[in-house]
Subunit: 195 residues, 2 copies
Amino acid sequence: MAPTSEILTAERILEATEEVLRRHGPAKATVVDVARALGVSHGSVYRHFRTKAALREAVTKRWLDRTSLTLAGIAAGDRDPEARLREWLSALFEAKRHKAGDDPELFATYSVLAEENGTAVGEHIADLAAQLTRIIAAGTGSGAFSVPDPAAAARAVFHATGRFHDPCYAREWTAPGIQEEFTAVVDLLVRGLRP
Amino acid sequence: MAPTSEILTAERILEATEEVLRRHGPAKATVVDVARALGVSHGSVYRHFRTKAALREAVTKRWLDRTSLTLAGIAAGDRDPEARLREWLSALFEAKRHKAGDDPELFATYSVLAEENGTAVGEHIADLAAQLTRIIAAGTGSGAFSVPDPAAAARAVFHATGRFHDPCYAREWTAPGIQEEFTAVVDLLVRGLRP
DNA sequence: GGAATGACAGATATTGAAATCTGTCAGCTG
DNA sequence: CAGCTGACAGATTTCAATATCTGTCATTCC
């Protein structure tokens, strides 16, 4: 089960940590568990990550980066900016909603990790805001949108749609009518961006 | 300290409960504490409130109603709808921000109460949304706004400004630049409401 | 010699017994 | 007799002893 033959890398530790977090949850996942899963002593884990907090932060970053990547594909698309904006926001909502709905425990686990890694989350949000900025800037270029500051508008759009991507609202994502709420907010924002 | 002379009313119990919650916090405030503060036995409290949960819900409702009342004054004002909308949203944000900033512990206490009383919060939100609906409907009447469904638009505006009134964002209300973020979101929404 | 180990000290979490609390109700009291 | 009390059973919380974990480092092992 635990291949001691392979070299111990940061990558393998991160994978084992994700598995331990999935199995035990954020409160009970220990460094000793991770070491056990890898068939090494916990001292070896500390050779690659200075503290438990650093290990958890690295796992959090990996998780956040995976979402960023999917959305980056949409942001870089060639559809007209308004459609791209709607698609991007829908994709973000869909992704979050499915993660929360398919495996609530795992989602709760990563929500806890996100809570304790404000910095990593901040960078992730900055990354997403940058993607939004590119879409909105493309819109101002093509005349589809008209805003004084695309970056500020992007942050505003991101904040205004928080209800549909912030984990603290996860429990409401299964409520009936949530899709209509989402559409209503996006429609209002898109109208606000147009000339 | 505890005037046993007066008649024990639901009102007096609610006041004592607020005081106990303020002193001990939501986790340690017990029905026995409330009874002690009133100089009566805890059995008497149960004569007015069937359960501890019912008592806490009543306190929550009172607290929420106090906010609703202040805002109702603005919603019923006679300024032009756009100014009234901006004023109403600013007042909501200001009220929350001050409550959270002036006495963080009390705010945290009431946030916990709100968490456990989803129904009361739901009614409060419906109430606020109704106030917003009145403002927006006035705007569609005067031609300041143009929306197909004022009630839906009101909900959308309320949800889109969640970052500036939902307790789960309280920690960000002291961040520098929050006022600019607020203005950016409100500007975007107001533009979206205009014809 | 570079990577891994495991014993260790201090910090944190778990556990189960004791204390407190919730909700009820028969009876007291004014 | 309407309102209040206080004893009670079962649920929940507290607390201190016990166990586990984190992070270090001298030592071991290829």
